[in-house]
Amino acid sequence: MPKVSEVHTLIEHFFRYESGKMIAVLTGLFGSNNIVLAEDLVQDTLMEAMANWTYKGIPENPSAWLYTVAKNKALNSINREKYRNRYALETRYEWQKSEETTMPEIFSPDNISDDQLRMMFLCCHPAISPDSQIALILKTLCGFSISEIGRAFMTSKENINKRLVRTRKIIRTQNISFNLPHKKHIKQRLDAVLETIYLLFNEGYSASVGHKAIREGLCLEAIRLTELVLANKAVDNKGSVYALLSLMQLNVSRFGARIDDQGNLRTLEKQNRSLWDMYTMEKGFANLKKATQDALLTKYHLLAGISSYHCSAKSFEATDWMGILSLYDRLLILDSSPLVVLNRVIVLLQIGKTQDALAQLGKIEKENALVSHHLFYAVKSDLYAKMGKMTEAGKSLQKAIDLAPLLAEKKLLRDRLKKISEKK
């Protein structure tokens, strides 16, 4: 029996994080066509840890404990004749050719970091659709279960399972390697990785549907994955990575003020700014500074810049809207999607450029992405209100209320409608 003074505790999400590391390393060992085998061995390892530690207590070095067990399980699996033929694809490890049952130190910190990066490139391979990329990242690198991914995407675990099976099949049939992309392609492939991480973040950040804690969890995972990319030496040109990290940290830092004690949504204008998480915000500012180290300017730089204007404003009234508008102008050159135009219209309204806002809104009125988006009608209503057309403002707001997916959003918009009706 260990002594009482030797009772150890685990950090939050320890099993999930270690699961991500081990699946990456074991996939490196068995090859990308054997992800399922890696996943199964890791699940077995965690179960064994649970069984042991509930009787023996948590060991002094729980990570090392897991790695030893995982390594033994991998070795057993390799020694089983029926699997042996399947490892021919990957040749990074010498032992595959020999009959020796020894294994190199696969769980070294460098190896863990490299294999997690390889896993990221694998998950974000262009042959895989964005939705499937995210599902596979959550399953392998983030240690989510199929049901947890299902909950995050508001779909059944059967659907997620089907998606994962399909994805692994694409990897197998297209022989997608677990090696890092060639130096020539790494920049382009890194962009794809960042894009997927950003999608994952937005999935969590846009409070349209789903459980709050789960969605915040997705945002934190997106941040963690970006930090993994940053920590790896294989990635030079880290400007866009810092920019994405900064953007996410600056946005996440305002999480605590988005919903009040009664569960009501609070717009930026109504947020209690003292609830903002200054620690995370400072990290966001510091990373934005680092993001400007190379000359490249990405949409993440601009979005982070916009966010930084909001974060540094003492009050909503003190917001530097002109500064924000100039960043939106530049963003529009890189990304002229309707949602960017719509957000720019919000800024135009803030600085009283009503006619401009009207013209811009007209341009995107027929966009499919917006005709069923409540935000579009909410902005339209604001515009009408500024122009003194209260009846139209009310009509648009009613449409926004009908379309808003979240009860809290409906409530927020209804309160606004009440105020408009009083002004009529």
């Binding site: 029996m1 099993f15 509930t54």
Partner: protein, 117 residues
């Protein structure tokens, strides 16, 4: 004080459905439970049972059965060796095991016969 053997019997392969996060939570509950028993000087030993390799030997019938015993729903998952004032106290300690909240479990409480002295 008297020694007691608590035998933990759980139902089959329920753990395989649990996520890493859930496994960690269950493990932490269990670990807190034994930590508390250790602190109070109640726990004298504990060990989980391996999933594979168990045998049931009925020599008089000449049969020998292979584990794991998945066909019988219950599996001996592990044991605790504790000391307690009496059987009621031992039962109370067994009842506090958080495993009851997690999966279908039975715990057998056996008093150990003092030997020698």
């Amino acid at each position: 004080m008297k020694d007691y053997l608590l035998i933990i019997k759980t139902e089959g392969c329920i753990w395989t459905d649990l996520s890493a996060e859930q496994l960690q939570k269950h493990m932490e509950n269990g670990s807190a439970y034994i930590g508390n028993l250790m602190q109070k000087g109640i726990l004298k030993g504990a060990n989980p049972i391996e999933k594979e390799g168990s045998r049931i030997i009925k020599k008089n019938q000449g049969t020998l059965k292979d584990g794991p015993f998945n066909e019988s729903k219950e599996v001996v998952a592990g044991y605790f060796h504790i000391s307690a004032k009496d059987t009621d106290a031992a039962v109370a300690i067994a009842k506090e095991n958080p495993i009851f909240n997690d999966i279908p479990t039975q715990i057998e409480v056996h008093p150990l016969m003092p030997i020698g002295g």
